[in-house]
Symmetry: C2
Subunit: 312 residues, 2 copies
Amino acid sequence: LNQLLLLTDEPNEFYQLLLKYDLPNLEVIPCSSENEAKRIIPNCQITLAHPVMLAACLHYSRDLKWVQSIWAGVEALMTPGLRKDYLLTGIKEVFGPLISEYVFAYILALERQLFDTRLNQLETEWKKLTYRSLKDLVIGIAGFGSIGQQLARTANHFGMRVMTYRRMPGKHPLAERSFSGEELDYFLQNLDYLVLTLPKTPDTDHIINSAALTQMKPSSVVFNVGRGNAIVESDLIEALRSRRIRAAVLDVFEAEPLPLESDLWRLPNCFITPHNAALSFPHDIVKIFVDNYHRYISGQPMQNVIDFKRGY
Amino acid sequence: LNQLLLLTDEPNEFYQLLLKYDLPNLEVIPCSSENEAKRIIPNCQITLAHPVMLAACLHYSRDLKWVQSIWAGVEALMTPGLRKDYLLTGIKEVFGPLISEYVFAYILALERQLFDTRLNQLETEWKKLTYRSLKDLVIGIAGFGSIGQQLARTANHFGMRVMTYRRMPGKHPLAERSFSGEELDYFLQNLDYLVLTLPKTPDTDHIINSAALTQMKPSSVVFNVGRGNAIVESDLIEALRSRRIRAAVLDVFEAEPLPLESDLWRLPNCFITPHNAALSFPHDIVKIFVDNYHRYISGQPMQNVIDFKRGY
């Protein structure tokens, strides 16, 4: 009989119920504080965990074999000095659709001028605002893992032209053109929408700075749904203030929660969301855990294994 | 050499340019008033026209052979007493994608609480609002022509369960279940979103009344992107006011522009747009006209021929 440390930042009764239903023989030890986790982790080989919370108590583990993250971003577990002698699996398939719903919610809201339309209604004004069809627009997706690829599928569904900027050079079937390495400027030049889905690595640090923003069309919009390190926020603020670009939609930031004093909060062409573009829904996460658990028990290859060298 | 009456409600220089470019041998007579059109129409066999404006001068036509509508809805040309001895072609393919962008703009805005998120930003509040994934929701589409089918494709892309209510009984490959005739109540009962894409015909009059609204879930949302006759507005107002349903998103109305005194303007859970969910973009309309023109000249079957008996 195995013991599972279930470590989340919120009450996790629903996780417990789902796990009990699917894996009645697994002993689940629920926990939602790091201090509690420090006492429990020495006895556990398996954990289903919030990666930032786990990082804080990883040092106390003794016989850890497998960690299933409840988040897509696992960079907290890449910190030098933390043990990396266990199997780490991530969550990929569920966040692509959720991020795609978030990005297209804002693309469509901006194109259809939903906020101005609502103001017109408050003024009882029957006024046909104009818009563009997505089929006439170009989206650029930086980072082309499962999230970027799902965004490309949605963009293709709406007839958008899809460009991508990714680590691997060469054409990808989901994109009209692919750029990599030194080609960032070319990638940025003709986009209506730029969506950053980059993991946090040294390569992605500050990739969008004032030099990059200068390449973009004044009508373009920047999304960040990856990690806050990709954007130099002071440069973005300047570009938004001077209307060098049209707007930004940001779910992630250099510091989170976004500090009250950041001007991003107050720019009318900046849309702030509190790092919730893709929530971890227990029914989705448990489904992935259960599948991997059966693989773990029977010695089959696991899904979404993280490469500690790449960091994702 | 053929003469074309180009009849639109707005200045049509862009139509003229596109037509001249694609069909240099066609003599285009531009016109944006009905009175002017009355003088021109007797000499024209072909018109590319706004259907309501054309209806007002159709009586003056003499040798009319073919009318290409610039709108999807052609019910103005179905009025008894108007001549119906010509070939009428509609616009189908372009409105499906535009309506789908409109409907999903609002579905995603409602699910992701874009308006409340914006208010939180104005208060500098970092607050994770919750939402549902579209894959866990059910959409019902009433009317399953080119627009309804395109909505189903987008819904399928997002993993929604699709139900349809349509004239023809029997299963449709784009929908999990199809309902027709007397089955309206069953169709309505389990929907999260209902989208009406019905043409205006005697069969669709007041199909959504208080009896129908009573069948729906309190959390459901009603869209109308077809024609205003489908909904009894006073019944809908009552259902919205009493929160019998969650919200309505309306692009079409019993009377348009929606009268200032209508309570729909002022209900916080009603979203009003001024019949512009799908605009006729000249580059799209001219492309369809040019294709049909070549078919007309060479005697091939035309695209999107309207059946005067059905009315669409």
